[in-house]
């Protein structure tokens, strides 16, 4: 490729209006004649609907439409279609929708909800995974066998919504070796709420037999397809457009409240606005799931990991959702980082009568990295090896096998650890340690990936020398659509990035896209955009070569001109060439497409997996220092450092901004963001008073180093950079606290009461009676047998 790409700290074009309060997010959109909607939600975790009568509510003042389960016949899900829009016969979680109302004013819609007559017969509920797995447990889905299977291969049974397994090598033989020590660890983490500042919000209208859904989402095409499936209409009848999104973090990687608004606009003939209240967001946000992990390793005294096995229980809540897919990720996160002689892993998504969980930045990876890195420190301590030396000896390098047998390319983690050493030494400053607090530090490694998959892009060359980039990409705040993508197109066409207009997502205008998340925006949408721009470039050069009378190969595009290479000022402006082309052959445009390249796994290693191997691994090395107050259990983070594998940094400053923000979200997860579920099955943290987010006084500046040059199939060698910064924060803080206190850390978040219990030896060892000691006894179906 002849174009030259120079990294720049190109500013984002949406900042000015965001700073002046002019940006119109979905919650800021008000249409003429618009109705306001509200959703009636169940207040029991488990029950049978005996009667649901909306006739009185429908006659309330201002009410224009009421919809219920009868209006939404379909079911959705990942892997299995288990999730209806409204509870039909059974209520499976506190907060499950029962009916929706649209009225002239929100207060009228809310009054109508109160007038809906509901009679519910309570049923026994399973609120924890231990209860759900117990023999004779009530089934969250008594009809689980009847669910339509959308993706074959996962083992399922009763409250086990999905099970994915990995087996590579002879693990039994490894554990039976006489020269190994066996380290057995158990870990538990709670849920995390995304707290996107813009709640899930939608404005829907119904015109000419089609739905127009304007929504705050990361996945316009999923909204289109899932809405259609739930409503039982052709997907082509649904158009989704997306204004600027006020925060996603994975929360908006799934359908939410869009179908309610769609049903209500069709029923009323009026535009309908539906916005979740903060309480609804706090109680039903598709949390990062709570998880329980048992991991065992057989390690030689010299520090070689000859065998590893693990059981990971992931609470999916009342419906399978994202967790079905995330069972796949354990192989690449808990099974990542290190060379393993043999390995077997099982991830089980478990139904409970609680609010459904979902995707959250570095989903699954955050807690599995927490578990893996603490386990690694426990191994190092057991064999008497320095934890950093142990990591250096074992991290994945060029040609090493991953858990599923994929072959990793390039030495990446090793040099990243070296770079972290350099940063740490350069920053070494003696802290005042005479205050009686306990001081500790840790360095951890993490393995993440880019969730590639299909993307499409069109680039239209305008006669004025600007280009319009049309994709289904959404600007969620990360800046990829404002910075990385226009930078890629601009570099290809030799124009300034400010001359690339970026079209907001519209499923009527752009082709299919998986969505903005999984670190895929710059990679997948970027690759499609690059291909589209290259087609435009080729066409322009052909036209220019005729105008300039030079071979296309001798021409370069730069500074808004097409010139003969080595002769600055020769040739024509791009606007002249585009104008000429438009008149002679019609307007110039190009299209591009991308999907993953499917790195192979070892045959037979995986079962129930959606992704057998990771196309673009992303590595991270984190380091932090903490001080722990002996009296209060308060943990202060004193310093934080990140070396992140970015492939290639198109906009280094934007990436550093993602790292600071992602680390701080991770500090909240590590230290004080706690979600608990009451005996009534309801999430206890329903507002910002009870859910403690990181504040300006809590955080430290994160020192960052961007590691470039690791192999990547991403455009120009890029990797996703926005998702991974949160990956090993919980791990690093936990390892540092363990190092400071000398206590065995097994849970997050490390709130002061929990740390104090550790310090006082009042927190008993975790035990999981519902996880069988013998690995194979945990499986509903033996690995490698057909379902």
């Amino acid at each position: 490729m002849s174009e030259v790409f120079a990294a720049t700290d190109f500013r984002r074009r949406d900042a000015r209006d965001k700073l002046r309060g002019r940006t119109r997010y979905t919650i800021d959109r008000y249409l003429p004649g618009m109705l306001h909607a509200a959703v009636l939600r169940a207040r029991v975790p488990s029950g049978r609907i005996v009667r649901l009568d909306v006739s009185k509510a429908a006659r309330m003042p201002g009410v224009r439409a009421v919809v219920t389960a009868a209006d939404a016949p379909g079911k959705i899900g990942i892997g299995i279609a288990d999730h209806p829009l409204f509870a039909r016969d059974l209520i499976r979680y506190d907060g499950e929708p029962l009916a929706a109302v649209a009225a002239d004013a929100l207060i009228q819609a809310q009054a109508a909800l109160a007038a809906i007559e509901v009679e519910i017969e309570p049923l026994p509920a399973v609120l924890t995974m231990a209860e759900a797995i117990a023999a004779e447990a009530p089934l969250v889905h008594p009809d689980w066998r009847a669910h339509e299977i959308l993706f074959a291969g996962g083992a399922r049974e009763g409250n086990i919504a999905w099970e994915a397994t990995v087996v590579r090598g002879d693990v039994d033989a490894a554990f039976a070796r006489p020269d190994v020590v066996i380290v057995d660890s158990a870990f538990r983490v709670g849920r995390q709420n995304h707290v996107a500042f813009e709640p899930r919000a939608v404005v829907a209208s119904y015109e000419d037999g089609r739905f127009h859904i304007e929504t705050s989402t990361q996945v316009p095409w999923s909204i289109r397809n899932a809405t259609a499936r739930l409503l039982g209409v052709p997907a082509s009848q649904v158009r989704v457009t997306v204004p600027p999104v006020g925060g996603g973090f994975g929360l908006k990687f799934d359908i939410a409240i869009e179908p309610f608004a769609a049903l209500l606009t069709r029923a009323s003939g009026r535009p309908v606005r539906l916005v979740n209240s903060r309480e609804e967001e706090m109680l039903t946000c598709l949390f990062r799931e709570n998880a329980e992990i048992r991991i065992r390793s057989a390690v030689t005294r010299q520090g070689k990991i000859v065998g590893r096995e693990a059981v990971v229980l992931m609470d999916c809540g009342a419906y399978g959702g994202e967790q079905i897919f995330l069972t796949t990720m354990t192989a690449h996160t808990l099974g990542g980082n290190y060379r393993l002689g043999s390995v077997r892993l099982v991830s089980r998504a478990v139904y409970t009568n609680t609010a459904p969980n979902g995707a959250f930045r570095a989903c699954n990876g955050v807690y599995n990295t927490f578990a893996l890195e603490l386990h690694t420190d426990e191994i190092a301590a057991r064999i008497g090896m320095d934890p950093l030396a142990f990591r250096r000896r074992n991290v994945l390098g060029d040609g090493d096998l991953g858990a599923t047998g994929q072959v990793f390319e390039g030495d990446v983690l090793g040099p990243m650890l070296d770079r972290m050493d350099t940063m740490r030494v350069a920053a070494e400053q003696p802290y005042e340690r005479a205050d009686g607090r306990l001081y500790g530090r840790a360095t951890t490694v993490g393995t993440w990936f880019v969730f590639v998959g299909p993307s499409a892009a069109t680039v239209n060359m305008n006669a004025d020398g600007t280009a319009t980039l049309v994709t289904s990409g959404v600007e969620i705040g990360s800046g990829s659509m404002m910075q990385g993508l226009p930078q890629i197109v601009a570099a290809t066409l030799g124009v300034g990035p400010e001359d690339v207009i970026v079209r907001a997502a519209d499923t009527d205008a752009a082709g299919y896209d998986v969505g903005v998340g999984g670190g895929r925006t710059t990679v997948s949408l970027g690759a499609a955009s690059l291909a589209a721009a290259q087609e435009v470039r080729k066409k322009l050069l052909k036209v220019a070569s005729e105008m300039i009378e030079a071979a296309p190969d001798d021409l370069v595009m730069r500074n808004g001109r097409i010139e003969i290479d080595g002769a600055p000022g020769s040739g024509r402006s791009i606007a002249e060439v585009a104008t000429h082309a438009q008149a002679q052959i019609g307007p110039i445009s190009g299209t591009g497409a991308f999907t993953g390249n499917s790195v192979p796994a070892m045959p037979g290693c995986v079962a129930g997996h959606f992704i057998d191997a990771i196309d673009i691994p992303v590595f991270a090395v984190h380091d932090c220092e903490v001080a722990v107050d002996r009296e209060t259990g308060h943990v202060e983070v004193l310093s934080y450092r990140v070396v992140q594998d970015v492939g290639r940094a198109l906009n280094p400053r934007a990436i550093r901004g993602q790292i600071q923000g992602g680390v701080v979200q991770g500090l909240g997860y590590a230290l004080h963001e706690e979600v608990t579920i009451g005996a009534n099955g309801r999430v206890c943290q329903n507002n910002f008073e009870t859910y403690r987010l990181p504040l300006a006084l809590d955080v430290v500046p994160v020192e960052t180093s961007l590691y470039e040059g690791a192999p990547s199939v991403g455009p120009l060698g890029t990797k996703g950079a926005g998702e991974v910064p949160i990956l090993n924060v919980g791990a690093t803080v936990a390892c540092a606290v363990a190092n400071a206190t000398g206590k065995r850390v097994q849970e997050l978040p490390l709130t002061p009461p929990r740390v104090l219990q550790l310090l006082l030896d009042r927190r008993g060892e975790l035990s999981f009676p519902h996880i069988a000691k013998t690995w194979a006894d945990n499986l509903v179906r033996p690995h490698g047998t057909a379902g």
Partner: protein
């Protein structure tokens, strides 16, 4: 009953119930959607506006209590379509991500720069504790405020 309010220098009137939170009158009656009702309980600071020069949480102030006061919203801070010094500094530092908290951040920092022209890093961090940001990890916002202080 009609509330007469002065917003960004304009006299406006609203027929909303006097106990309607000011943020809703600003957004729904006056179409000033800059202030964001994120938590509606006074914890996040995204709905901050200046009331007679003092930053207040417009989700907790009934509209009637803002009568006879000068209300300045984020939309009214910069004149002639430009940016104020703190807005410029935030833009220059690439501080903005999703942007939902920034209307409140800008209001708080505008007040800080007036009330404490020589604000230190610690002053700025303390001033921001009533403004939550979920995206940025705060560091660039603090940096931008320091730049704005230095430029004065």
């Amino acid at each position: 009953m009609v509330q007469n309010l002065t917003v960004n220098g304009d006299r406006r009137s609203s027929a909303a119930d006097p106990i309607t939170p000011l943020v809703d009158v600003l957004r729904e009656d006056f179409h000033l959607t800059g202030a964001k009702p994120v938590c509606r309980e006074g914890f996040c600071g995204a709905c901050m506006v200046l009331l007679d020069g003092a930053p207040i949480l417009s989700c907790l102030v009934p509209a009637a209590l803002a009568e006879d006061c000068e209300i300045l919203t984020v939309e009214g801070l910069a004149t002639d379509g430009g940016l104020t010094p703190i807005q410029s500094a935030l833009e220059a530092c690439d501080a903005v991500q999703c942007g939902m908290c920034f209307p409140g951040m800008v209001v708080t920092l505008t007040h800080l720069l007036t009330a404490k022209p020589g604000a230190t890093r610690d002053d700025i961090r303390a001033a921001l504790t009533g403004n939550i940001c979920r995206c940025t990890g705060y560091e660039r916002i603090v940096e931008a405020a320091l730049i704005a202080v230095a430029a004065k």
